[in-house]
């Protein structure tokens, strides 16, 4: 048995196994749960990197459950049209890398962060399940499997958001909102699956993509899928759950929730690019996505400026940054049917949008972690009550500056690289969009200057006399993210050429996507 063929399933199976082992381990040794979680996720991270190397050198991978090829006929004559499978191409593994890094660092950060909580084993179990759900959403090649993983991720994240709900009211309230929103979106996805199945008798993404006709029913399915996936990604005007859920979840969970929202964003791109591609009216759908993006950017940032709760402020910025991704990819979609424009600026715009997904996961994760460190030491998230913390928490201050500079798009950091790609390509499509994006970026900077000023600067306050630097595991997680941010900012070419460009091409070229599965059929 060659284990290297089974990497895709091992990435998911190991955290899943660990998740159900944890309650048992907890009986034996309470402290081992966190370490086991970290171990399982580090194995997952290593396997994801190995798989990424394989995919980027060899090509897309298909992992079929219970068979060696997608359409194997058993000796008894039993034949499945298309089996259940994982289909992992450059775009999936791009998202998978983000998830692996974020969940691993989230687990490390949690080692210190959860010291004040009861029932830590359940916390870790849910964290692992959430990771499994996100990985599954990104890797699966089967649309019904996607629904199942979506639900796993939703249920785990709701339980984690309302984790502190035993003692406080607000987390329960946020959890309720998120649960209603995510079950409605999952059910609408299921309804769309029913529509596809009724028409084509297929559940596989690639097989569906090869026969899809863009009939009236397909339009209805698209009309169900785009809003609900945008809702799960937190785009305005379906963003009402985002600030609540992000601000009430424990900080490391918020970081992983950002990755979960991005998995929905990935699914949205997969649907419009790999499933429908140019069979749909790309200009109209592209503009719909661009308008979602514009609204998210602008409303997100204007709402962020007036916030007083540090995590709520960052959550509104998360909405605003999602807008950039939608804008970049939306422009790419709008010119998809026009090869010249696509080559001229469409691909660059998409590269900017996709690269921004990874950058956003890193710097927003870092910012949420610094907010978590402040909360951990001071016990408050209210900016008006903070002040002078730079005297006590030097490392956290530095990490916050790095994260804030990256999100505002200042040069040596990664946010600048992806935002510049978006500005210069979107300008060729429509100058106004580019100008709005720049204005939003300036407002972002203004709002983070405010946070920096009110939380870190100023004289030493008497009530924070006891405040110390964050514990070591939290500093470690933040330091790793900072290094990644600086590395991406200094060598954006390296990342764009080796990771982002293949991801964009695998989205654009539908034939390549269907060909990996259907091949000789």
């Amino acid at each position: 048995m060659n284990l290297s063929n089974h990497i895709p399933i091992l990435i998911i199976a190991i955290p899943l196994l660990a998740a159900f082992l944890l309650p048992l381990i907890n009986r034996i040794n309470k402290k081992a749960t966190g370490i086991l979680t970290t171990l399982a996720l580090s194995v997952s991270l290593l396997l994801t990197i190995a798989l990424a190397v394989k995919i980027l050198t060899v090509g897309p991978q298909v992992y079929v459950f219970g068979a060696t090829s997608p359409s194997l006929t058993l000796p008894s004559g039993l034949k499945f049209p298309i089996r259940i499978m994982f289909q992992i191409d450059a775009m999936s593994i791009f998202m998978g890398l983000i998830t692996a890094v974020v969940s691993f660092l989230g687990a490390i950060y949690s080692l210190s962060f959860t010291k004040k909580y009861d029932g830590v084993d359940k916390y870790y179990s849910l964290l692992l399940l959430l990771t499994v759900g996100i990985f599954g959403m990104e890797f699966t090649g089967d649309i019904f499997n996607f629904f199942v993983f979506l639900e796993i991720a939703s249920i785990a994240s709701v339980a984690l958001i309302s984790f502190r709900g035993v003692d406080l009211g607000e987390p329960a309230e946020a959890g309720f909102k998120y649960m209603v929103v995510s079950s409605i979106s999952a059910l609408m996805v299921l309804f769309a699956i029913g529509i596809f199945y009724g028409q084509y008798d297929l559940l596989n993404f690639a097989a569906l993509a090869s026969v899809i006709k863009y009939s009236q029913l397909d339009k209805i399915a698209l009309g169900l899928l785009i809003p609900v996936l945008a809702m799960k990604a937190g785009a305005v005007p379906m963003h009402m759950w985002t600030p609540d859920a992000y601000s009430e979840a424990p900080a490391p969970i918020t970081m992983i929730l950002v990755a979960a929202s991005q998995a929905s964003l990935y699914a949205l791109f997969r649907v419009v690019f790999s499933l429908y591609n140019i069979s749909l009216n790309t200009l109209t759908v592209g503009w719909i996505i661009i308008i979602f993006g514009l609204l998210s950017m602008f409303i997100g940032v204007t709402m962020a400026i007036i916030q007083k709760d540090i995590k709520r402020l960052m959550a509104y910025h998360a909405i605003s940054q999602t807008g950039y991704m939608l804008l970049g990819v939306g422009v790419g979609l709008a010119v998809l049917a026009n090869p010249e424009a696509l080559k001229d600026y469409g691909i660059t715009a998409m590269e900017g949008g996709i690269f921004h997904i990874m950058n956003h996961a890193m710097y927003k994760g870092l910012l949420f972690l610094t907010a978590g460190a402040l909360f951990f030491r001071t016990g408050t998230r209210d900016l008006n009550k903070m002040g002078g913390l730079a005297h006590y928490m030097k490392y956290t201050t530095i990490f916050f500056i790095i994260g804030a500079a990256a999100i505002a798009g200042l040069p040596p950091f990664n946010g600048f690289a992806s935002k510049l790609l978006i500005y210069e390509s979107v300008y060729k499509f429509n100058p106004l969009l580019s100008i709005i994006a720049m204005v939003v970026s300036i407002l972002t900077l203004a709002s983070f200057v405010k946070v920096f000023h009110s939380a870190f600067l100023g004289p030493k306050l008497p009530q924070f006399k006891e405040v110390k630097e964050a514990p070591r595991s939290m500093v470690f997680a933040m330091a790793v993210l900072s290094c990644i941010i600086i590395f991406f900012g200094l060598f954006p070419d390296l990342i764009v050429k080796n990771l982002v460009h293949p991801a964009v091409m695998s989205l654009i070229e539908q034939l390549q996507y269907t060909g990996t599965v259907l091949g000789g059929m």
Binding site: F147, I155, G165, S183, G194, L203
Partner: protein, 115 residues
């Protein structure tokens, strides 16, 4: 015509569910709205696989020549029902926690998070 009645039921289920979500202010009723939509979608899937006069899709025991209902939608529905139970249980338990802290289930008063 009569064969389309289940689809009408699907529309009624989902319509009632959405109505409940939009206009009812009790958290338990909102949970019921979610369940109504779940049932509508499940009924939709099952109806897709129905064939008139067909037998259960058990390959080895079916009389030869008899048509069968489609097994895949039934498998999908079963999965979806199980997920639905987990979702409903979680929604209700969160509603319980909210009741414990706020002393009410009225959405107008459960509003500490805003702005």
């Amino acid at each position: 015509m009569i064969g389309n009645l289940p689809y009408v039921a699907v529309v009624i289920f989902i319509g009632l569910g959405i109505y409940t979500l939009m206009f009812k202010k009790n958290l338990i009723k909102i949970a019921i709205g979610v369940v109504l939509i779940q049932n509508g979608v499940n009924l939709f899937l099952i109806t897709l696989g129905y064939r008139k006069g067909a037998v259960a899709p058990i390959y080895t025991y079916a009389p030869s020549g008899q048509i069968m209902v489609l097994p895949t939608p039934q498998a999908l529905t079963l999965t979806s029902i199980v997920i639905g139970i987990a979702t409903t249980a979680l929604i209700l338990s969160v509603a319980m926690m909210i009741y414990k802290h706020y002393g009410t289930l009225d959405t107008d008063q459960v509003r500490r998070l805003k702005g």
